[in-house]
């Protein structure tokens, strides 16, 4: 299968959309969150590498993928443009770690805040979160397979986890 698939790289603070059998990949998530929204009917998926919970103020469109709120809104729009419907969309997420637990107090746990924001926003849009692997103090890399809807999460200490 992988031989025919197109691998699409998602950089930090970016999102990309793919259609089966594309594989969307984002690497080195620390306190950032990797969020996939997938329509299992059309087998179209979108993967984002989100850095912060909210934009607070109006931001330019090129910064939308940085923030959970603007990223999720735009991801839904992109999926709709590809013929997906909100009712079919399902989400998975990984990341939101505290890489240096000693600093957690100081940065108010930006990893935790990212995860909370994503949960709340998904609820608001009525998209169900069907899998997640968040927290801890280690980095993760994510591969999202648009063919199966499976998210494969790799870390140095814990190997590969599939959700």
């Amino acid at each position: 299968m992988e031989g025919d698939s197109n691998i699409i790289k998602v950089k930090i603070a970016d999102y990309k959309i793919g259609t089966a059998p594309d594989i969307l990949v984002t690497k080195g998530l620390g306190s950032c969150v990797g969020l996939s929204i997938y329509d299992k009917e059309t087998r179209v998926g979108c993967l984002a590498h989100i850095m912060l919970p909210t934009s607070n103020k109006k931001v330019a469109e090129k910064f939308y993928p940085r923030y959970a709120d603007t990223a999720i809104d735009r991801m839904i729009e992109m999926l709709n443009e590809k013929g997906c419907t909100l009712a079919n969309m399902e989400a998975k997420m990984a990341g939101g770690a505290s890489m240096f637990p000693g600093l957690k107090k100081e940065n108010k746990g930006v990893g935790d805040r990212n995860v909370e924001a994503v949960l709340e926003l998904l609820q608001r849009h009525e998209i169900s979160l069907i899998g997640s692997d968040t927290g801890g103090s280690y980095g993760r890399s994510v591969e999202f397979c648009t063919d199966s809807g499976e998210m494969s999460i790799k870390s140095i200490q814990h190997g590969i986890l599939k959700i």
Partner: protein
């Protein structure tokens, strides 16, 4: 100060200031380990935030990373990144013994690494502070063995609430040929750049 408005003269001044700072840090490291330390002339670069992890060796490359905050009259983040073998070699030089497998993750080894980080960062900041006549100190270091992208993302998160790009001062250093090599990064907060440039006589 918006990073993209920096003039060439200001970038040169930053390179020169960093060069002196890193020179002092190298001397400190050299005395600590009783061996010669070589440094590259620092690179001062304005990078897209998304490209910073690649600069640190690739976003999922496992590295030993140390994080320190620059505090005082100017603030920012400092990172020391070593390939795992280099970190092991450095600790083995410090403790004067060969390390066993995974001993690099022992309390003793991590503490030795933090000590080196602390000495390097303090020497760097004290040279910078003396030269610019401002007060700079560093926080205690935090250390982690993980993907380069995951280690740097916290430093970038702080930046990205106000900035489009990251100003990165990078220096590579070597011990005994390239038996031990590491990279030192300074990522100043946008507001602090004005303080540094003004003190260096390169204000607006």
């Amino acid at each position: 100060m918006v990073f993209s408005n920096l003039r060439n003269g200001q970038l040169d001044a930053l390179t020169e200031i960093s060069n002196i700072g890193v020179g002092h840090a190298a001397t400190a490291l050299s005395q600590l380990l009783s061996t010669s330390v070589e440094i590259r002339v620092p690179k001062v670069e304005l990078l897209e935030i998304a490209d910073v992890p690649d600069q640190l060796g690739g976003d999922d490359t496992p590295v030993v990373g140390m994080f320190l905050k620059m505090l005082g009259d100017a603030s920012g983040n400092m990172l020391l990144i070593y390939p795992r073998e280099s970190a092991e070699r450095m600790v083995s030089l410090l403790l004067q013994k060969e390390l066993e497998e995974d001993e690099i993750f022992s309390e003793m080894a991590l503490s030795a690494l933090k000590e080196v980080g602390n000495i390097l960062a303090s020497a760097y900041l004290s040279a910078l502070g003396t030269m610019l006549n401002i007060n700079l100190i560093c926080s205690t270091p935090s250390v982690s063995y993980d993907m380069a992208g995951a280690i740097v993302d916290y430093s970038l998160i702080e930046l990205c609430s106000s900035e489009d790009k990251a100003l990165v001062v990078e220096t590579e250093f070597f011990l005994r040929g390239d038996e031990v090599k590491g990279n030192f990064f300074l990522i100043p907060d946008p507001g602090s750049l004005d303080v540094i440039l003004k003190a260096a006589g390169q204000g607006k």
